[in-house]
Symmetry: C2
Subunit: 206 residues, 2 copies
């Protein structure tokens, strides 16, 4: 049985998922936005930051999100930023399909991550990811513009937002340009932790 297509991001209360420019990516606001992630044991293990870390519900949710994912899809901008930032042993450990105009051979990393570069659009990338994921789910990893393309195309089954107690005021909005006439939401689950509120919605077409 095919899995679901989902995304999972951390969003500020005013709807932002990243600062305007990637130079600010490690700035104060971004650190505040992502603060719930850094102390988690799974995050530390997966990025090889050393042992220890929290093991509560936030950690379980990070781990569950990772384990359900059989393949990921990402846009070129996320890949370009990550290519600089990820450790050699990239943190996906599954096939990753990069939607890009760049023609490039698959790039295999230690630890099970292989990046495949797909030149014929988002549906093709998703088809290939579905094939690679087997009965696990496909995660649309980001960035925001890529997530929105999939959402507006009716290709997302559900998504989870870690709603972070921070206001950005400016930056990149997750839902900027959403086709609100097409995308309806159905609440699936809301789970507050001490740090954030994890909100899951199913996507329905109107």
């Amino acid at each position: 049985m095919a899995g679901k297509v989902f995304f999972s991001v951390t969003m500020s209360l005013d709807g932002f998922i990243a600062p305007e420019s990637s130079e600010e990516l490690m700035g104060r606001q971004w650190v505040e936005l992502q603060r719930w992630v850094f102390p988690q044991r799974f995050f530390r293990e997966n990025l090889k930051l050393g042992g220890g870390g929290e093991q509560g519900r936030d950690n379980d949710i990070l781990r569950e999100t990772h384990l359900r994912t059989g393949a990921s899809v990402m846009g070129k901008r996320m890949f370009d930023a990550g290519e600089q930032a990820w450790p050699e042993d990239a943190p996906f450990h599954t096939p990753v399909f990069v939607v890009t105009h760049e023609q490039r051979d698959p790039w295999e990393r230690p630890g099970g991550t292989t990046f495949h570069f797909v030149n014929d659009g988002i549906e093709s990338a998703l088809d290939r990811a579905r094939g690679a994921a087997g009965d696990r789910d496909v995660r649309i990893a980001g960035g925001g513009a890529t997530i929105l393309e999939y959402l507006n195309a009716g290709l997302i089954d559900e998504f989870t937002i870690a709603l972070s107690p921070v206001l950005f005021g400016s930056g990149i909005r997750l839902f900027e340009g959403v086709d609100a006439g097409r995308v309806a939401l159905e609440p699936v689950r809301a789970e507050p932790t001490q740090r954030v509120t994890h909100l899951t919605y199913a996507v329905r077409e109107r």
Copy 2:
């Protein structure tokens, strides 16, 4: 002891609290946004829409919000829209201070609501509301621009958002223009119901 200054609004997942124009105010999106409110017993009683209605947590939260409020403050646009829409027995049942340039005598309604028109700014309106509220809280009722003025001025102690499972795509954003360099948030409580997620934050200055 003086009460708190708070606001309480329903917001779409993408951060909107109202459509762009007030003609759309009873449009489909707005009805979806506010859908959790209409069936509640307290809402029906307070607007004299007839008996019956739900009596779960959503209803309790509406009632608690009303009961904690000793006085309200609102902007001129909210008052102008409400002057047309509210029943004669306006739904506040307390003093309401309207921030406006219009000079006008207090307007007393049956049922305990009296509108006072304040011409010397938001701090003055708040001072008068505090005086009228006694040991109960002051609600900054709206609209969005007025809420944001108070928030950016550091005059809000806490707020509650009923986060509704709907995407607007456009309209009036609650936090548009927020002074994110000044306003920090601290999560107080997150309470999901079947219809919305009630999120309460305390406001801290950075």
